[in-house]
């Protein structure tokens, strides 16, 4: 039945302008649909990749994020002595007590300001995050007002470049290095000595404790141990799960926004496809009559017109996905509502998004073509043949 396929295809080429316009309408909807899901996926990927499967994060019980968490020094000291903590090449425990504070900074290309995370780190914070690499400058010296900034912060905020000085917590902080953390949330952070930062921000407590387990199966036992110890009103979870949890609310919000928007747009696209296909049926009434007279069944006519509409949907899907895929080269920033800080991330396309977008587009084609195809298939042969 390849001839029938070419029949449908060539009819679309014959009506070149309407075909292009209808395809563009569908492409626009698929573009919006795909790009918002890519946005949610990019956010999720960035946050999930921030965490490592081997690390665990300890927060105050009931705290959802490091911003809400407080860990006393004595609690952190108890944790540091746990035998489940892995030991690094230097013979020391892979354990870091960290502080997390938000400051506001002015953006480079606008007058706007945004919250940026200052992370007070320990000596092993870097070994616990192998994805973080220093790309320029050097590491800060301990006990000084030296800091390093994530590449994304250096690019997007004023006075955040190498050798610049930032003023916060009533002190001047010298930027001595810029680090790259790949597609992770750390790229949107500023790191410095935790003890120096605690002094300046007048904090008595850490925000979180992070360490690596000797074996990943030790986590459950550790959870039970911490829950039974009355001194430790803390919760423990894998770092990857912690960041996944952070991404869920925002990603779900984006997904709902995307689906709502595209549902509204898709009504327009389906109506557009329907108008195109009804016009095609009206223009080809005699053709329909001829095909029926030659012996083609109603279902063949239904299939031929539906196929045209599905090709429109498929083409719209391909075009929409092509333009949406270009967004991968863009990095955007938004407020992470879990930490109230600016987070930079890229659009991310996955096979799942491609399949969903194509299925959505083909469904639009199907929905737009069904009624006209049904009408074409129900036409009376004799009446159709009179329409020359």
């Amino acid at each position: 039945m390849s001839l029938l396929f070419f029949y449908s295809l060539r009819n679309l080429f014959t009506r070149c302008l309407t075909t292009i316009l209808t395809t563009l309408g569908m492409a626009l909807v698929v573009f919006v649909f795909a790009s918002i899901i890519m946005l949610a996926e990019g956010l999720k990927k960035t946050l999930v990749e921030t965490g490592s499967g081997d690390n665990v994060v300890v927060l105050r019980k009931s705290a959802e994020t490091e911003v809400q968490s407080r860990i006393d020094r004595d609690q952190a000291s108890i944790l540091e002595t746990l035998p489940e903590i892995a030991v690094g090449d230097d013979g020391q425990r892979l354990f870091a007590k960290e502080l997390l504070v938000l400051i506001t900074m002015q953006k480079k290309n606008s007058d706007g300001i945004a919250n940026v995370i200052i992370r007070g780190i320990g000596k092993h914070s870097l070994s616990l995050r192998p994805q973080v690499k220093l790309i320029t400058g050097r590491m800060p010296r301990w006990g000084t007002s030296e800091i390093i900034v994530g590449e994304s912060v250096a690019k997007r905020f004023k006075n955040a470049g190498l050798q610049k000085t930032l003023l916060f917590a009533m002190r001047s902080w010298n930027i001595v290095g810029i680090f790259d953390a790949g597609d992770t949330g750390f790229s949107s952070e500023i790191w410095g000595d935790a003890d120096q930062l605690m002094q300046s921000f007048r904090r008595q407590t850490y925000s979180s404790v992070i360490f690596r387990l000797r074996h990943s199966n030790l986590l459950q036992g550790l959870k039970e141990l911490i829950s039974k110890d009355p001194r430790l009103t803390l919760s423990i979870l894998r770092e990857k799960d912690y960041y996944l949890k952070q991404s869920e609310t925002m990603a779900a919000f984006l997904r709902i926004l995307g689906i709502s928007l595209t549902l509204i747009f898709s009504i327009g696209a389906v109506v557009g496809a329907m108008i195109t296909m009804f016009a095609a049926v009206a223009n080809r009434t005699a053709e329909i009559g001829t095909l029926r007279a030659l012996g083609f069944q109603r279902k063949s006519i239904l299939f031929a017109f539906l196929l045209e509409s599905l090709i429109l949907g498929f083409s719209g899907g391909c075009a929409g996905l092509f333009f949406a895929s270009l967004l991968q080269f863009l990095t955007i920033s938004t407020m992470n509502f879990q930490t109230f800080s600016e987070l930079a991330f890229s659009f991310s396309i996955t096979p799942g998004i491609i399949i969903k977008s194509m299925a959505f587009s083909i469904f639009m084609g199907f929905a737009g073509g069904l009624l006209p195809a049904f009408r074409a298939s129900r036409m009376n042969i004799v009446d159709s043949l009179r329409e020359v």
Binding site: M1, L3, L4, F6, Y7, R10, N11, F13, T14, A286, E287, G289, T290, L291, R292, A293, L294, G295, F296, Q297, R298, I381, V382, L385, V388
Partner: protein, 229 residues
């Protein structure tokens, strides 16, 4: 007439149309028999019901009353699906305005009815080439209908009509849209199909010049067959 010689037998056929609450009688008590290999012209003024009768014979429309038997098959009892299948094997259509599919080439237009026959692609191509050579359009088979003259389009339409080797050919005003020379060529071709290939042809025309090329003639007037003319 012996039964095996009969290809068409119409018996007491009635047909009417409904327009709003009005019933318009189009055909009344039509009875007709036709021998295999006949070339019949159905003549009559506009509105006499000749196209309606042709549509009933071709299985495009349903009778109100009476029977139509073609080559031993009573087509008035067939379901819509069976009728469509029957048409694809037994009827070749030649229309006044050729009714070629504009987006398909002449070759593809001729191939179209064969898609319903279950033949392989190679067999289809052989059949199409043979049909196109009968109408002398070999050098134009890659052309689209809008690249052909009216006479050439009608020859392609005739090739499409004969490609399945149907039981009967029905032609509704086949020369109605052609100049005299092209019409002459088309009628010559139909005559050859009838005489050389033994095709049974029923042609509707209101043009006496075209009608005279048929080997027999029936006149319809106000829905009634007038055998006396």
């Amino acid at each position: 007439m012996r039964n095996e010689d009969l290809i068409l037998s119409i018996d007491n056929v009635y047909k009417s149309y409904h327009r709003d609450s009005q019933i318009i009688r189009v055909l009344e008590d039509i009875s007709l028999e036709l021998k295999r290999g006949a070339f019949l012209a159905l003549m009559g003024p506009s509105g006499s019901g000749k196209s309606t009768l042709l549509n009933l014979i071709a299985g495009l429309d349903q009778v109100d009353q009476g029977t139509i038997e073609i080559d031993g098959v009573n087509i008035t009892t067939l379901s819509e699906t069976d009728l469509a299948r029957w048409r694809s094997f037994n009827v070749g259509f030649i229309f006044q305005f050729y009714n070629l599919i504009p987006v398909l080439t002449a070759f593809e237009n001729v191939e179209l009815p064969l898609l319903l026959t279950g033949l392989s692609k190679r067999e289809r191509q052989e059949h199409v080439s043979a049909a196109i050579s009968v109408v002398n359009m070999e050098d134009r088979d890659g052309h689209y209908p809008n690249q052909l003259s009216g006479g050439q389009q009608q020859r392609v339409a005739i090739a499409r009509a004969i490609v399945t080797d149907p039981t009967i050919l029905v032609a509704d005003e086949p020369t109605g849209d052609l100049d005299r020379t092209s019409a002459e060529n088309v009628l010559d071709l139909m005559d050859r199909l009838n005489c050389d290939l033994g095709k049974t042809i029923i042609m509707v025309t209101h043009d006496p010049w075209a009608g005279n090329r048929a080997h027999s003639m029936e006149h319809l007037d106000k829905g009634v067959l007038n055998h006396d003319l």
